[in-house]
């Protein structure tokens, strides 16, 4: 500790301003606590600034570009021009900035103080926040009653790879100043495939390298098949079951050397996964040991140690923004003495914004009842007949409970919310089958699947 650095007493400190941290801060403030939110980056964290939201903006732009370039329904367009700089400006100013400002306003309205800097525990109940360079700025020391760790995760960069102007992580790719003509993507997980698809739509020649036998290996093959098919139709190349040996980085390009040959690219995206940002927090000072994956062990409320909770990507479970927000609300409530608070969700939707979209929720194991989009009036009228929805049920007849659901196809990211509601609220296929769904609509697919599962389908 720096001499002359007096500790400030605070009530609650939340570390990290992503969708977990800022929600936890708002919830704790709503429950009457005085909250200081410490963040090393901009409000909204990875998700809003360099993750889910900007990638969705580029993906949407990719769809617009691809649709313009692809004749369909008797419509064709000549001379499609992409102003990548204008696209980035739109993404920053029209998408990210208003959302970030919104978070700032919400925090201010609840009286949450935002403190910028890097947080580190220095003793039980004490957090040091480094600001600027340590030499000229002693930072701030906070003595807190309760703390919530919501520091999220960082991209993994495998040894042998070095980030630079031509070799980037997802943050770097989303912030590129020019549209690459050739893009190599190392890692065919959901981040790699989402961005590979977006840049392919925007006109890049994209190659994806993955050491697994197929891309999107975390999802079942019947869901990922249409994605691979579409990606190849856009000119994309997939090198699956391939080990990337090395990168030959030149001033204007990079050559990817793999078991399956080489690929020269303007830029290389390294997207092999993310690791919890728990290594530099001084967790040992508050009695927390992380596991081999760097995750913080917690109880059902997210409590990691006396007066310390942890939420989001730093604890077990899928590293998803909506999980972090949910856990943030639970942890804040538990911290404020709500005995009802616990992380006990039955269903957490996972969405992959590929083309077509993939979504899953609940337990998707064993037999399922499927309905193809080509049987759906709305899907055909949208010109999107690819894909299907699947319901996983337990039990027989109309009383069978919905326990899982999956969808691949147009609108899957929105469609998945309905089975999530059904699973968490213990609905049966009979309940869904007897609920009127609007026509024409993609959601009718669930009604059809439920009727089929209940054995009362009039179409199937």
């Amino acid at each position: 500790m720096v001499v002359g650095n007096f500790a400030r007493d605070v009530d609650v400190v939340v570390i990290g301003a992503g969708p977990g941290g800022y929600v936890a801060a708002l919830k704790a403030a709503a429950l009457g606590r005085d909250v200081v939110l410490v963040t090393a980056g901009p409000l909204g964290g990875t998700c809003l600034n360099v993750g889910c939201i900007p990638s969705k903006a580029l993906i949407e732009a990719g769809h617009r570009a691809w649709n313009a370039k692809t004749p369909a329904m008797g419509i064709s367009t000549q001379g499609v021009h992409i102003d990548f700089e204008a696209l980035q400006q739109w993404k920053e100013q029209e998408v990210i900035a208003p959302l970030r400002d919104g978070i700032g306003h919400l925090l201010a309205a609840r009286g949450v103080e935002v403190l910028e800097g890097w947080a580190r525990f220095t003793a039980p109940g004490v957090l040091h926040v480094a600001q600027g360079s340590a030499d000229d700025d002693p930072g701030v020391t906070l003595r807190f009653k309760d703390a919530i760790i919501a520091t999220g995760s960082r991209p993994i960069i495998p040894s042998g790879f070095t980030l630079g102007p031509r070799v980037v992580d997802s943050t770097g790719l989303l912030a590129l100043g020019e549209l690459p003509g050739r893009l190599a993507v190392i890692g065919g997980g959901y981040i790699g495939m989402e961005l590979a698809g977006a840049f392919a739509h925007l006109g890049a020649s994209v190659a994806v390298f993955d050491s697994a036998p197929r891309v999107l290996a975390g999802f079942p093959a019947q869901l990922t098949g249409p994605v691979e098919q579409h990606f190849r139709a856009c000119g994309g190349q997939i090198f699956a079951g391939t080990q990337v040996q090395s990168l030959e980085v030149g001033p204007d390009s990079v050559v990817v050397l793999s078991d399956d040959g080489e690929f020269e690219a303007d830029y290389v995206l390294v997207a092999v996964g993310r690791r919890p940002a728990t290594d530099d927090l001084g967790l040992e000072m508050v009695g927390i040991d992380t596991d081999a994956a760097g995750l913080i062990p917690v109880d059902e409320t997210g409590k990691a140690a006396d007066h310390v909770w942890a939420i989001g990507d730093v604890v077990a479970g899928p590293p998803l923004a909506h999980k972090a927000s949910y856990e943030g609300m639970v942890a804040a409530a538990a911290m404020c003495g709500d005995r009802g608070a616990a992380v006990d969700y039955a269903a957490i939707p996972t969405v992959c914004f590929t083309t077509p979209e993939i979504a899953q929720v609940g337990r998707c194991e064993g037999e399922s009842v499927t309905v193809p989009l080509k049987n759906n009036g709305r899907a055909l009228s949208m010109g999107a007949p690819q894909g299907h929805v699947a319901l996983y049920v337990e039990g027989e007849g109309e009383g069978a409970r919905i326990v899982g659901a999956a969808a691949v196809g147009a609108g899957a990211s929105e469609l998945i919310a309905q089975p999530a509601l059904a699973i968490e609220n213990l609905l049966t296929v009979g309940d869904v089958a007897l609920t009127i769904h609007n026509h024409p609509g993609l959601s009718e697919l669930w009604m059809e699947a439920a009727q089929k599962a209940a054995g009362v389908s009039v179409h199937g």
Partner: protein
């Protein structure tokens, strides 16, 4: 065919007597209908059917004793008379492997955690065995007074509707546990020869002692009450007169002498009076006793007192103190098969003669000492009460002897 096994009536009970059957062979019984009344360690409990069906056979007749885990009756569920299938998890057989998320929707799960209830123990009425919010509320209402009340003080029912103008009398159904409590109370009143001695004790030293100790207890987060002192006084009394630490076994016509000292403390809750027991109070310091009373009262008011929290009592203390407006003695009813109940009234200043026969104002506590006359004679009881009073009159001696 569903075979109903004898449930465990309390902690460690391995047999229980069946008092009355509410059904006979051939009767249709619905899920949650009462099957029989069972006498367990301290309470009379009515046991309901976990399934819907027809009583095929009764294996343990009224008046006989059933062994926990052995068949009591067979219920033919093949002839189900309702379209709803029986719940897969009956109330008496909690299956810890059941995933709570498959039992109730998120809002009910939150409410159950808030109330400290394991949803697997709540009888479900929702479709497919779902526990509804109403099920949880009913469970909480029924669970909050599981042992007989020691005093006939029916609480006004807050939800009772105003009486219709056309009738002068409104019939109000009682919960099954309230019925059991009433039966136990009546049995105690009718079968135990109660004798009550009314007395009072000078609390000058007690008040001073508590005033001195209160801040020290507070530093330890404990509220030191006069009730804690009366518990310790009871311990000293029972140590000197162990013949009072006994209960009569009516059936065997024998006296059961207890080796451990537990003192029940009546707690007023929204659902009625309950009596948590401060067990082994002879091994606890005065401040520990006060802490235990505080904790038990908190748990009791939350409606979360377990059966085991109310067992093992030697005698009971019931303190109406704060509610008494004046010179109040009472005749408390002996609780739970014990031999003594002590009612404590309010501490009030009264003029009493000092050693020079001059009137001085002294804080006086009123004591009603009720005992089972079969256990001890009046002389012993009066001597025991004298000891109880002597302890309260001089807390230093009390703490040395308890």
């Amino acid at each position: 065919m569903y075979t109903f096994m004898m449930p465990d009536g309390g902690e460690g009970t391995h047999e229980s007597k069946i008092l009355t059957w509410h059904v006979q062979e051939g009767d249709l019984v619905n899920e949650f209908d009462t099957l029989f009344d069972m006498e367990s360690d301290k309470a009379i409990v009515d046991v309901s059917s976990p399934v819907t069906g027809v009583i095929a056979a009764i294996h343990v007749a009224a008046g006989e004793t059933g062994i926990v885990g052995q068949p009591v009756c067979d219920i033919d569920t093949g002839e189900t008379h309702t379209p709803t299938p029986p719940a897969s998890t009956p109330a008496t057989v909690a299956d810890t492997s059941t995933d709570l998320r498959q039992l109730a929707v998120p809002r009910v799960r939150v409410a159950a955690r808030r109330a400290g209830v394991d949803l697997r123990e709540v009888p479900a009425t929702g479709t497919g065995g779902k526990v509804t919010m109403e099920d949880l509320e009913a469970f909480l209402a029924a669970d909050s007074h599981p042992t007989p009340d020691p005093q006939p003080l029916p609480k006004p029912q807050p939800q009772a509707k105003p009486e219709p103008a056309s009738t002068d009398v409104v019939r109000q159904p009682l919960s099954s546990l309230k019925k059991a409590a009433n039966r136990a109370m009546l049995a105690s009143y009718q079968q135990v020869p109660h004798v009550t001695i009314m007395d009072r004790v000078d609390c000058t030293a007690l008040v001073a002692h508590r005033t001195m100790l209160k801040p020290i207890a507070e530093q330890r987060g404990v509220k030191l009450t006069y009730t804690a002192y009366t518990v310790k006084a009871a311990v000293a009394m029972l140590k000197k007169y162990p013949q009072l630490n006994a209960r009569v076994d009516d059936t065997a016509e024998e006296l059961l002498l207890l080796n451990r000292i537990g003192v029940g403390v009546a707690v007023d809750t929204d659902a009625g009076l309950v009596v948590p027991v401060i067990r082994d109070a002879d091994r606890l310091s005065l401040v520990d006793v006060a802490a235990a009373i505080g904790q038990h009262a908190e748990v009791a008011r939350a409606g979360r007192l377990g059966r085991e929290d109310m067992q093992g009592g030697s005698m009971t203390i019931t303190n109406v103190g704060g509610f008494a407006t004046g010179g109040v003695w009472s005749t408390p009813i002996i609780h739970g098969g014990e031999s003594v109940i002590v009612g404590i009234g309010r501490i009030e200043e009264e003029f009493v003669p000092d050693e020079n026969r001059q009137p001085v104002l002294a804080p006086m506590m009123k004591i009603s000492f009720t005992f089972d006359h079969r256990v001890v004679d009046g002389v012993i009881a009066q001597r025991a009460l004298n000891e109880f009073k002597a302890m309260l009159a001089d807390p230093a001696i009390m703490l040395a002897l308890s």
